[in-house]
């Protein structure tokens, strides 16, 4: 007999595997390693001097204190709102549930800085809404939201959906018999919640709380709009100001600050991991449908309470934003004769940076989504179907740039790309490419998750059938695997697009002339006092986001369940 056939056909597999490992390491491990290296060895030599200087500075500790105050406060508020809503929506028979979930989860998909501006416009002295009602505070008085309380309020509303999604998934996974057994044993509904639901739901709730804390801590847009006017700085805004004021010369100090906020975030991330064994309910939800308790005569009051909450936390702020976008100038009262679309015309057609920003944000979000899908489809193929150990380990690292605050990745990218690239001889810093790199690195995890759950739900014999037909790896990927995971990949791409499109944290630190994003232009309008332009721009981004969310409902039936947070 002839010798054993050699592994000729395996060359493609090995090459692809190595390429994927390299790319993902470059996106996840290398930047963070570079950041930590800079903190420990500023300028290349080991020294604790910089660390000592940063840690002995009063500014550092006041910003850290502020960060903790608003993150903990925002988390508490989000927990109260999110868990109350999750209990009501999941365990009771309230009507119009799908619509409510869509509306309640929506803020999560909008830009935090735009939401913050909406709140400013609702509550401030120039509020067209309060003005129309005659309730506006006197002109010249301070907006009550420019305060730690205001930051906590907006953070809490913005991230309540995170607690909601985590807890709702936990509630759905809870065996219904446990509740029914207690009811059968004579327990009244509130006693059931106290004795059964609360103890069982503590781990998922705490995981949601931890996730919420990390998100509040890393948020840049909300404390930037609400804190910077009164010089109430948190760590992300402090890092932003240091970099903007001093330039990259003091990068070592900024690196230490980044490691500091990263370390605080790690506490939350580890807590969440520990509690939920690495499940993130932003994109992974349980599938079981819990049967609900009939509220009878309480149903209408509960429904009114839920929708009133939406009225105050979403409808009114967004209305105020819409109204501001229509005033000709700040302070002019809005009525039929003053309303104008001039703001929209200006940001869409007249303002150069805004025009560039539309192109940049659309282009980079689409490019990031596409590149991530191209990485994630083969990556998840090896990880899930081939159970390649190396990639399963690598997939843990892909989570880091997403879970850690955005400023951490941005500073790491600056450190990595400030010097000219070794072979090409030019620097990515101050170009659009450094932002794109960060988008791909940061949102890889966001795209990977729905694709992984897509693979889990597919029958692998479909691939084996094409293998038997003689198809090599690349052909199988193109003709069989990609078409099969396409719906899940589209969901992932969409989540990436929406998040990148509304993103500010990374681009605020990395933008340069010609490389502006919508977030950056929005932010500079607002900082320059042009709230009406900022509002018009914000309304446009909200329009894009909501249209895309609605568009997904068309193909939602073909998706693995729970990959789109706004679809119930």
């Amino acid at each position: 007999m002839a010798d054993v056939a050699g592994p000729r056909g395996r060359f493609e597999d090995t090459a692809l595997l190595w390429a994927l490992t390299g790319v993902v390491a470059l996106l996840s491990i290398v930047p963070l390693a570079r950041l930590i290296l800079e903190a420990l060895m500023p300028g290349g030599a080991f020294s604790l001097g910089v660390i000592g200087r940063v840690l002995s500075s009063g500014t550092t500790w006041s910003a850290t204190g502020h960060s903790l105050v608003v993150a903990i406060g925002g988390t508490l508020l989000a927990t109260v709102i999110g868990s109350a809503v999750a209990l009501a929506v999941t365990l009771t028979d309230v009507r119009a549930r799908n619509l409510f979930v869509f509306v309640f989860v929506m803020p999560l998909m909008l830009a935090p800085q735009v939401v913050a501006l909406a709140w400013i416009q609702m509550a401030g002295p120039s509020s067209p809404l309060l003005g129309a009602l005659g309730l506006a505070p006197p002109l010249g008085s301070r907006n009550p939201l420019y305060s730690p309380g205001g930051i906590v309020l907006v953070l809490g509303v913005q991230y309540a959906p995170l607690v909601f999604l985590t807890l709702r998934a936990g509630l759905r996974a809870m065996p219904q018999e446990l509740i029914e057994a207690a009811r059968a044993g004579g327990a009244r509904p509130l006693a059931v919640v106290r004795d059964i639901v609360v103890p069982l739901m503590t781990p998922p709730l705490l995981a949601g709380v931890a996730l919420c804390f990390v998100s509040c801590l890393g948020n840049f847009g909300i404390p930037a709009l609400l804190g910077i006017p009164t010089n109430y700085l948190v760590l992300p805004t402090l890092i932003y100001q240091r970099l903007a004021g001093l330039g990259p010369g003091t990068l070592s100090e900024i690196a230490v600050l980044s490691v500091l906020i990263g370390s605080i975030a790690m506490i939350g991330i580890i807590a969440q991991d520990f509690l939920l064994a690495r499940r993130d309910f932003r994109t992974v939800a349980a599938t079981a449908e819990a049967r609900s308790v009939a509220l009878r005569r309480w149903r209408l009051p509960v429904e009114i309470a839920l929708w009133t909450l939406m009225l105050f936390t979403l409808v009114l702020p967004l209305s105020a934003l819409a109204m501001t976008s229509l005033v000709p100038a700040i302070g002019v009262p809005l009525n039929a004769s003053t309303a104008t679309l001039e703001g929209y015309r200006f940001v869409l057609f007249a303002h150069d940076a805004a025009r560039r920003a539309f192109a940049n944000s659309f282009g980079m979000s689409a490019a990031a989504a596409l590149m991530i899908v191209m990485i994630a489809v083969p990556f998840a193929y090896f990880g899930v179907w081939r159970r390649t150990r190396a990639l399963r380990v690598m997939s843990l690292f892909t989570e880091a740039p997403y879970a850690l605050p955005g400023v951490v990745l941005a500073i790491a990218a600056i450190l990595l790309f400030l010097k000219p690239l070794p072979i090409f001889g030019f620097s990515l810093y101050n170009t659009i490419w450094i932002i794109l790199f960060c988008y791909v690195a940061r949102f890889l995890a966001l795209g990977l998750r729905p694709i992984v759950s897509g693979y889990h739900q597919l029958d692998r014999t479909l691939e084996e059938a094409s293998q038997i037909a003689g198809a090599r790896l690349f052909r199988r990927l193109r003709t069989v695997i990609l078409p099969l995971v396409a719906p899940a990949a589209a969901a992932g791409a969409l989540l990436i697009f929406l998040t990148a499109f509304n993103e500010l944290t990374v681009s605020a630190l990395l933008w340069s002339t010609g490389a502006e994003t919508l977030g950056v232009v929005f932010f500079s309008f607002q900082q320059g006092g042009d709230s009406n332009y900022a509002s018009a721009l914000g309304m446009l981004t909200i329009g894009v986001s909501v249209s895309l969310m609605l568009a997904t409902l068309v193909f939602a039936d073909r998706l693995p369940r729970g990959v789109l947070p706004w679809r119930d």
Partner: protein, 356 residues
Amino acid sequence: MARLTVSGLTKTFGAFRALDDVSLDVADGEFVAILGPSGCGKTTLLRQVAGFDQPDAGSIAIGDTVVSTRERAMPPEERRIGIVFQSYALWPHMSVADNVAYGLTVAGVREPERSKRVDAALSLVELAGFAARRPSQLSGGQRQRVALARCLVTEPSLVLLDEPLANLDVHLRAAMEREFARFHERAGTTMVYITHDQAEAMALADRIAVMDKGRVLQFAAPSVLYREPADATVAGFIGEGMVVPATVAAVAGGTCDVDLFGHRATMRCSARTTPGPALVCLRASALSVAPEGTGALRMRVTGTIYQGGHFRVEGMIGADPGVALHFTVPEPCALASGSLVDLAVSDGWVIPGRAS
């Protein structure tokens, strides 16, 4: 060319031996069935042959090429075999014609040759008018036929079928069975057919490998399995054989005298049989009610089941608890539960090896 040689194949999952020293030699053009209860390792064996998994010991050769050993394996896409999967595994995003054409496209077969062969394969399975449909628009039986056409269109010299009829209803099964037989006759392809239905295996296969708990118990032609089971498990599994302890008295050529609970009967045996205690395999067809007073094998009837035109009579022989026997009697049947009946034994097979 497409002989399949499996030797000493072992596959473990953790501490569990899914395949234990399996050896099979399938001749070119032969139709072999792998028969065994659920979980005995049939699919595991097929996956080794296809190359989806690698064995822990032993080797597999297709034709003259060793394709799998513990160290090295030829990837499935290079083995040039065909598989019909139990779940059909039709690609939902392709039409029926595209499903069938896929293997030809991969092999670089161009139009118009490709369409011609796809059409031929579809008419072979009587689905000529269905080329443009999606798999989701077909019935279970039609999907199975598309899977068959997809597997056959590339004319592989070795075809593996994993319980291809398990999801079909009885009538369709019979029709598809005939189709497989006809196809095998015409194409002369080597076929390995996995099933847990012995009627199917008997009807189709040249030889059957009976598996249990990861081992091949016997590999022989259907009538040999039925008439001369190699051990008690095969005897009990095939055709509901009854395994009964007995004593071999005198051996003469292919037959011997056997003492069965004091009753003397003549049975077939292998040439190596020696006198002494043994297990014998009895078939229901070899048992009948003896005329009053002549028989010596006395059975206590425990129940009768009407099976349309005849009764299946179940009972016990020997001292309590005894050994269960069953046989059939035509309608009408006067045997009531608890009555005693004398049985005549016209045939039996002495299972090789000592009774333990």
